[in-house]
Amino acid sequence: MPLIGKKDSGKATRLFFATDVHGSERTYRKFLNAGKFYDAGVLVMGGDIIGKVAVPIIQEGAGRYRATLQGTTESIESEEALKGLMERLGMLGFYAKIMSEEEFRSLSADPAAVDALFHTLARQRLEAWIELAESRLAGTGIKCYVTGGNDDYPDVLEAIKASGAQSFIDCEGVVVPVDDLHAMISVGNSTPTPWKTPREVTDVELGRIIDGMIAKVTDMRNCVFNFHDPPKDSTLDTCPELDWNTDPPAPIVKAGQLVMHGAGSQSVRKAIETHQPLLGLHGHIHESAAAARIGRTLCVNPGSEYGEGRLRGVLVNLSDGKVDGYQMTSG
């Protein structure tokens, strides 16, 4: 069934955008299937691909393990239960590693080793994802563009470039075609956060990176900005203001209440206001799913619920110089 009225005339393109999957196996697998499911010719993954939690599965004896999940320590008594646990961990975006009690103790005492473990597990999962994308998308004609986010380790993201994948394309730092008419530029960095994540830059520096990308665009009327950081005070960036001096960062409370603010980038906003692209695709602030217009530009942050295995995204129908329609999805 044609879902876009103008598709039959060959003028419209359907793009599906999702972001901030944070290592969730289930969400990622849904993302790969979204092209066929939604009849979208272009998939865009907006960054923050890497997970945040690694769960040690500690071997206690032959076929017996324990693991802590969501604050509860679970005993695993069979290989089948172990498989089930691994699947649940994957769905939640957690990494898992089976280890002995001694290994766990040794790791716990060595933050650098834990960090190295994250790099290893993240790279393994990303490589597996690339392989899966290649097998699922090959021959479908569906293009899948991927960029990193502020949370992603640069060395792990190198896996995308190094893979030589045909269907899973690193789109950061280059102008990529969405279709014959539309092009997309992507920037995965963000302004500083209280967590000091791997790919943060100052707002001024972010502006310079964006300007560098914009200089390569020939037709702004049909350009898509895929910037992980949302525009400042756009309603796509609303979240509690945090105290950067505490660990972990704590929400700022005034008069007994949390203070909400726009955590987006002024440079991103300025770029959109100045250049008025067709579409802005953003993420970063999971709780601020929204769509807003800045001048002629439709800006969308579909939010993220990766921990529930739910793929939040947005379908956008693009034609010459305009967005025919868009729809938030929760697949």
């Binding site: 879902l3 876009i4 009225g5 103008k6 359907r14 944070h22 289930r26 697998r29 299937n33 979204a34 499911f37 923050d48 890497i50 945040k52 939690v53 690694a54 769960v55 040690p56 500690i58 802590t68 969501q70 509860t72 649940r88 769905m91 790791l107 933050p111 834990v114 960090d115 994250f118 502020n150 967590w195 000091k196 994540t197 005070d233 309603t235 609303t238 929400p251 007994g256 209440q257 949390l258 909400m260 726009g262 999971h286 709780e287 799913a289 929204a290 769509a291 993220s304 619920e305 921990g307 529930e308 739910r310 379908l315 129908n317 329609g325 868009y326 729809q327 999805t329 929760s330 697949g331």
Partner: protein
Amino acid sequence: MATATAIPEVFTRKASGLVRVMSPYSAFVYNILTMGLIFPWTYLWAPGALPGGKLVWGILLAMLIEIPIAFAYVWLSTALPRSGGDYVFESRVFGGGTAFTVVMSGYVIWILQWVALSGWLLSYLGFAPLFLGLGATMGNATLSAIGLWFTGSTGIIITSILNALIALVILCSGFKNYVRFQWVMWYVVLVAFGVMFAVLFFTPPAQFVERLNAFAAASGGGANFYQTAVDAVAAAGIDLNPPFSLIATLLVAPIAWTSLQWATYSAQQNGEIKDARSFKNQSIIIVGSLIVTGILLALLAAGLERLAGAQFLYVAGAGYWSLIPEATINGFYLWPNIIAVAVTASPIVVLLIGLGYVLNSHQIVHNCYIGMTRVMVAMSLDRLLPEWVSKVNERYHTPVNAHVAYFLASIPVILAYNLVPGWVGLTLGVTFACGYVFIITCLAGALLPYRAKDVYEASPGSKYTVNGLVALVFTLLGVAAFIMTAWVLAQQAFASAFLIWVVRLGAIAAVVAFLYPMRNHLATWLRGDKAPWLSALGMIGGGFGMAMVVAFLLAPSLGVLGNWNFADFPKGLWAQIIAFGIIVLSLVWYLLVKNQQKTRGINVDFAFKEIPPE
């Protein structure tokens, strides 16, 4: 390089992510305030309509029936901790068409009536007793006259519109301002109830008649009010010492449910609640608030009975239900707070109780706006309401358009509520309407482990299982409660044998249609295999909840929706036409919008359909 830290047996790395604003304690308070300790009907309606019914037991029964429903919401909230609550739960299990029709009709449209009710409560149960009480205790006729102004339609309309407008301004200015204000409301309400309980439990019953008479006289009523009222009610043929009735006690439960059914309302804000995936937190928020409120409401009934005596509660109920003017003080019904105010001679006590009722009344309109605007934003993002509805104000970070739209829509309802004869009778139609929303969500919970298996299995509640035979027994109990209620009450509602059998067979057909797709799972339960606790509780909660919804629809003693008068069609059935018309209207809206969006290349089903991961 991101640094990494170890917490007990889990490694985390520092990464940006979701931060939620509402503490579990705030959500717990929110639910208690939403259930509205001030809702007064139980205390007049039940004694008036259900002679022989035991108030305290009826309230506790309603609480017990609500517990499995509340637990179903706990499971659903931890599995899908998103704002939008019922709309999200139902759409995931039953699809967008059902979710939109049910939630749009039962919530968004019907709760406009609750906005009007909030104004009425504020004026009639907040300001009027406050000024009447101050007038009586201070001997000031002007204050008493002001109190009476708040009981007239002009006073109520002006109060209602200002009430809605103030809530609109507070909520549009930022959710944090509301949460700040909520604490003021919470503590004032707690103090007011503490004071009221003290008055009800520590005032010597021997002084009740004397004090009530003095208050009535000071408020413009006649002398010797108590005896006059008792005589008038007895003369009207109302038994003031009816024998205990089990049926009447059972039917008190749906009335008490008008308050207690709101224990689950925090689910609308799940996306804003900290640690919303925590089973413990959600249990405290939803089930805990239910039990606390249920006990407080039962205590209030016990206190009233202790002070005024069971006989006088029938007198007060007769003033409300049988419209006996002598059993009202100058036309003013004898609500619990009026009785408490009447027996105290202290203006400070009157002020404290009055402020509690004023703020709890006002809080209701906030609930209406907060819950419904979130649902409207979710529907707009799903492209089922216009795009401008979901626009969030850049400065205040609130959905101002949705708030303004809901405020404007409430104005005609406020006017109708206070000017159209009989409209006020639809007040408890909200209980019917919201009741079916809650129950369909509860049934969605029963099916969640089978229709959204992966979502369920990843939730913290999935580890709780029960022997299938227990689940089967729960299912049978729920089915029995539903069918028995429909069976018995059908003959109270209809004289025509045809209609009676339509209702009875319809109830059986509904059960079969719901359970047939579950037949394979039911078979495994019969074998004693493990069943999800969620399914067991969803089945029993859904069945008993449906029984209460059916009671509202078929029991004449439970209000206008239960009065089926075909003789004067359509006038005699206007309440039912409105109730079912709203459902049809919502369904038609869904189909029209779906079709219209299709012409723009948008398939609204995509907002709800889950993509297969494999």
